[in-house]
């Protein structure tokens, strides 16, 4: 009997794409496609247990070993720096972590200190630290674009996908910090103790991603 693998999937946007990828790997996870409020689901074979969690919580479940495998955005992984294996770039959910603001506003302080609004405290502070720029970091929970508009901040650090939100609010990308995409993450112990189940899955995923 093969061991059951617990897979943490992020609710929302990445979940559909993850399900699509799992299909390509021959895992029938149709229960995941049904409109359900259940948080724990199994695939048809019963070999995989899926838990649906908030996207920013995926690394926590995997780090603590209650999920063996998970799908998480690179933005979340870079921000949280959890101790997990980050094995495959899944090639979907592609976007960029950017500095944005009004065109021509520049990304260095003109006087005093540069005010940066963001949801991503660690990414923003490490980025500006590497550039030797001191900043006033303003942590926001969402709608970060408002920062420059209402005069709360000079620039923002945020995920940019199509750039539509920025455009509609009259903002532009000033600098790109790093490209982002969904990653497959694995608990450091599970990868070894359940390698008979994880390795074949990983090979299939790598194969499916290449296509």
């Amino acid at each position: 009997m093969t061991e059951i693998l617990t897979v943490a999937l992020p609710k929302g946007r990445l979940s559909e794409l993850s399900v699509k990828l799992l299909y390509k790997c021959g895992i029938d996870c149709s229960p995941l496609k049904e409109n359900t409020r259940k948080l724990v689901l199994f695939d048809k074979s019963g070999q995989y247990k899926f838990i649906l969690v908030k996207p920013t919580d995926v690394p926590t479940y995997v780090e603590r070993g209650v999920a063996d495998v998970g799908v998480s955005g690179k933005d979340t992984l870079s921000e949280q720096q959890k101790d997990v294996y980050e094995v495959v770039d899944l090639g979907f959910g592609n976007c960029r972590m950017c500095v944005a603001g009004y065109a021509g506003s520049g990304n260095r302080p003109k006087s005093g200190v540069l005010r940066v609004a963001t949801k991503y405290e660690r990414i923003a502070s490490e980025y500006y630290e590497s550039k030797g720029i001191n900043i006033d970091l303003i942590k926001l929970g969402g709608s970060v674009e408002l920062g420059p508009i209402v005069g709360l901040s000079d620039v923002i650090v945020d995920v940019v996908e199509s750039g539509n939100t920025l455009r509609e609010n009259g903002l532009v990308v000033l600098e790109e910090i790093m490209p982002l995409s969904a990653r497959l993450i694995i608990n450091k112990i599970s990868y070894k103790t359940k390698s008979a189940a994880i390795r074949p899955l990983l090979d299939k995923i790598i194969e499916a991603v290449k296509k």
Partner: protein, 398 residues
């Protein structure tokens, strides 16, 4: 309303049941180490920050709890016992090979409570100092296996790796120290794509990139050695791990041993052998260790060193998960009195205590309350003293 009950995050109380379990475990492991000729040592909780400064990477220095002394010197709470043992060895005349063990708490400064780690953690570990070569490594690996067995784990893995294989490749790629530690992080995350992109950016040639990235998949059983030679070529580090692997198999430990050439120790002072110990169902390593020949020389003492540390609390969690947990046993005896039998009570309790029994007085309990307490707390024996006379309520006095 602040009741002053709060303790800083990452620190914990250890309640009686947990303490009892922990003490028992520490006693078992200490006894095991003692039979291998290891001697217990204690090191100070606080040291000069400078002591660690030259041997630790900046990340580790950042994670030290710091204090200042009266004269303004910077002090640090013990971040790790190994460094202290080497410092101690450099200043003493204990003959080599030195076999030492410790049971101590170490401290790590975490800047956020949102972590699975604690800021104070109990460790029990062994250090073997001297030029003990591969035989010393074998002894430490055997002790690692024996420690888990002695603790009561049945399904566990002792994983062997070697930093030198990576070091050889990093030298071929001509990386700066900074790039090298960046690459170590990527390899430790098994981020193949990331490592490949990073090496290319550093200008490493294609063959070296392929070899280095292959480390990420070089883990598992004995098949790993052939795979490693095929992709990387002959290398002393592969030979050394294979020899150790073979020696452990010979001893009947084969089912507990595995290999991973992609687990690297980020600390500068590790060289060669890397050891990890873990168990299925527990998301964190329980045991960490390896060879750290760089430490003693940094204290002006020419000696090799190899050892490991076990995370006591993590080991306890793993044992609890398989039902191997001990709890404080019920009292053997309880008694109470009318308050006029002091001499008799004292004599009675002393005799039992001299036999090693646990005896506790329940102040002011009448007979009914005493009975009730015994029922609720599974106490087998109870006595009540009335005007100097003893009445047995439960059990039988031997």
């Amino acid at each position: 309303m602040a009741k002053k009950l709060k303790i800083p995050y990452g620190f914990r109380d250890c309640l009686p049941d947990e303490c009892y379990f922990k003490d028992g475990l520490e006693r078992e492991l200490s006894e095991l180490f003692r039979t291998y000729g290891y001697l217990k040592t204690e090191t100070p909780t606080v040291e000069y920050y400078d002591t660690f400064h030259d041997v630790c990477r900046p990340e580790m220095l950042k994670k030290m709890f710091k204090l200042t002394d009266n004269d303004g010197s910077l002090l640090a709470l013990r971040p790790d016992v190994t460094l202290q043992v080497c410092r101690m060895a450099a200043a003493t005349d204990i003959p080599n090979p030195k076999r030492l063990y410790y049971v101590e708490n170490s401290f790590e400064y975490l800047d956020s409570p949102d972590t699975a780690r604690t800021r104070e953690y109990s460790q029990i570990g062994v250090e073997l100092l001297g030029d003990t070569g591969i035989d010393g490594e074998e002894e430490i690996l055997c002790l690692a296996v024996e420690s888990f067995l002695r603790a009561g784990l049945t399904d566990f893995v002792i994983e062997i790796g070697n930093n030198d294989l990576f070091r050889t490749l990093a030298a071929e790629a001509n990386l700066s120290t900074r790039d090298e530690s960046e690459l170590i992080k990527l390899i430790n995350k098994k981020d193949g794509g990331g490592a490949e992109a990073f090496l290319k950016k550093c200008g490493a040639d294609t063959a070296v990139v392929a070899k280095t990235v292959s480390l990420i998949r070089l883990f598992g059983g004995k098949e790993v050695f052939a795979a490693a030679r095929k992709t990387i070529g002959e290398n002393a580090a592969i030979d050394s791990v294979e020899t150790l692997f073979g020696r452990l198999v010979e001893k009947g430990y084969g089912k507990y041993v595995s290999v991973d050439f992609g687990t690297l120790n980020g600390y500068d002072y590790y060289s060669g052998l890397v050891i990890k110990g873990f168990t299925a169902g527990h998301g964190f390593a329980l045991l960490d260790g390896g060879r750290y020949d760089g430490v003693c020389p940094s204290f002006g003492y020419e000696s090799g060193a190899v050892g490991f540390a076990l995370g006591t609390k993590r080991l306890m969690t793993a044992l609890e998960a398989i039902g191997k947990v001990s709890r404080v046993p019920s009292l053997d005896w309880v008694y109470s009195s009318d308050g006029r039998s002091d001499k008799e009570e004292w004599k009675f309790a002393c005799e039992l205590r001299n036999q090693g029994k646990t005896v506790a007085e329940l102040f002011g309990f009448d007979k009914a309350a005493l009975e009730n307490y015994c029922r609720e707390n599974s106490v087998k024996n109870a006595a009540y003293f009335d005007n100097g006379k003893k009445y047995l309520l439960r059990g039988e006095e031997k």
